[in-house]
């Protein structure tokens, strides 16, 4: 049964120093509020996992929370580069960031294997590219029936998964709809999970396209209205494209970034921190 807790308490229970953590959300429902709380709690030594590390990972990396990143595409979608990510990779600022790099298909299958309780997944991929040369986590595997050689990737094993969803009920059953990405798989891969939600309701009336994570598969639920901002929560908010564009300037400069951390994460204006 999921416990319903405050964002600060839930984050402190779920994300610990040195953990391997995924904050998932494919453009939609990105758990920004939870990520900001992790920065605020000054977690260190995290291995961050995510198919599409975007602003929230740029912020976590720039704040020095992470020492390793497992990913498949890192950019500011439609805008450009992640400057904090680049600065960490190229200049070890604020700390060295080790990379493990996959394709989307590879990451998706690593989540599926983890959710399925298997040590690896089989796919058609990576063949002929330079990606297998950079990690031992891509290996050939032979079909025992046809002799065909395919590619294996190991399951993701997460200490913690954090996602944002539209709603939960009072028992902690979680409902999300719209583009749902790999969020279910991320939660099912993890030893501990936290779902931030727009609201808690008495009953989760069925919705087209919705998936439900039952309360017995979730550890913590925390109410964080607007917790996906600047990404969006379908039916609740729209994407804040200005924020994504403005980030390019802030992320580009270490001083600007530190000012942003001070003003918006550590000493936010009243009302800016949600939940």
């Amino acid at each position: 049964m999921a416990r319903i807790a405050s964002l600060a308490q839930a984050v402190s229970e779920v994300v610990h120093d040195g953990d391997t953590v995924a904050f998932e959300g494919f453009t939609h429902l990105i758990p920004f509020a939870a990520g900001h709380e992790v920065i605020r709690q000054r977690r260190r030594g995290l291995t961050l996992v995510r198919m599409t590390p975007d602003l929230i990972y740029d912020q976590l990396i720039g704040a020095g929370c992470a020492t390793r990143l497992v990913f498949s595409w890192g950019g500011n979608p439609g805008v450009g580069s992640l400057h904090r990510f680049r600065d960490a990779v190229s200049n070890d600022w604020p700390v060295h960031l080790e990379l493990e790099e996959h394709s989307h298909a590879g990451m998706a299958n690593r989540y599926v294997a983890g959710a399925s309780g298997l040590p690896f997944a089989v796919m058609r991929g990576y063949v002929g590219t330079d990606l297998p040369g950079q990690t031992s986590n891509i290996a050939p595997i032979t079909c025992p029936f046809t002799g065909e050689v395919l590619t294996a990737v190991p399951a993701l094993k997460l200490d913690a998964a954090v996602i944002h969803a539209q709603r939960a009920d009072r028992q902690g059953n979680v409902q999300l709809w719209g583009i749902t990405g790999v969020q279910k798989e991320a939660v099912l891969c993890a030893s501990r999970s936290l779902v931030t939600v727009e609201e808690i309701v008495d009953e989760l009336d069925p919705r087209p396209g919705a998936i439900v994570l039952p309360t017995w598969a979730v550890d913590y639920v925390a109410v964080a209205p607007g917790g996906a901002h600047p990404s969006y929560a379908q039916g609740y908010s729209v994407r804040d494209n200005d924020y994504y564009r403005a980030w390019d300037e802030i992320g580009r400069d270490r001083e600007e970034f530190n000012r942003w951390l001070d003003n918006h994460i550590f000493n936010p204006a009243p009302g800016e921190v949600r939940a």
Binding site: S103, H104, A108, T129
Partner: protein
């Protein structure tokens, strides 16, 4: 012109795997001109999205709202892309080489200490491997068109003819590279990219000057038709609707 040329490369009824930016604009332009039955698949999990404006991200809510089906990301890659159900895939490139191999990972020789760290692979390696054919869209410059890419993120034709088959890649590979100057396509004999069309007002010397290898020119060099008034009008309308709704 790149957008219009890319839109024209799409046939009505094709199933098209679309990334954000130019490919999305081109695919939506095609839907509004010659290919109303074009099926758009976005890697965020929307099959058959029919946006009435350009989506702002690959996971824009309008894609889910207008799609025939919204599926999980693992399903996109495993049930739809991997088995070869997608006709056309689009790729961008930071570097592309003589055999249409594509780099979107790092510039420089040292992967651990790159000159430029790029976003990485995303869906590209498996798009390149599994789509029936691939269109690469990239601005032409000697920085982008190199003899050999620094890092093979997505395989075009490897080191030449027969390599795709040897690697077991089942899709047809990059049959069309559309640039701001013209179109390059693989020579059927060698799989080396050769210039097959020039956009209006572009000379072959300019293409040569902006290609990092001694690029060959097809015997039957075509000239791209200039954008038609209806193509330009449709493109303008699409952009207007996008701005209004933003």
């Amino acid at each position: 012109m790149m957008t219009v040329a890319a839109a024209r490369a799409l046939r009505d009824g094709d199933v098209c795997f679309v990334g954000i930016g130019l490919p999305s604009t081109a695919a939506n332009l095609a839907r509004r001109t010659h290919a109303p039955g074009l099926v758009l698949v976005y890697e965020s999990g929307t099959l058959g999205a029919k946006p009435d404006r350009l989506p702002l991200s690959i996971g824009d809510g309008i894609l889910a709202d207008t799609a025939d089906a919204v599926i999980s990301v693992p399903e996109v890659f495993n049930y739809w892309l991997q088995p070869g159900r997608i006709d056309i895939g689009f790729l961008g490139a930071a570097q592309i080489d003589r055999y249409a191999n594509v780099n979107t990972t790092v510039i420089g020789d040292d992967y651990r200490r790159p000159k430029v760290r790029l976003p990485g692979a995303g869906g590209a390696p498996e798009i390149a491997a599994n789509c029936r054919e691939v269109i690469v869209v990239v601005r032409q410059s000697t920085r982008a068109f190199v003899e050999r890419v620094d890092f093979v993120t997505s395989v075009g034709f490897g080191r030449g003819k027969g390599d795709r088959e040897r690697l077991g890649l089942r899709g047809g590979g990059p049959r069309t590279v559309i640039t701001d100057l013209g179109v390059l396509q693989p020579d059927p004999e060698t799989c080396e990219l050769v210039v097959t069309a020039l956009h209006p007002g572009v000379g072959i010397d300019e293409v040569r000057a902006r290609t990092g290898w001694p690029v060959r020119v097809a015997e039957s060099l075509r000239q791209t038709d200039p954008p038609t008034p209806s193509e330009l009008a449709a493109l303008r309308r699409l952009r207007q609707q996008t701005e209004q709704q933003e």
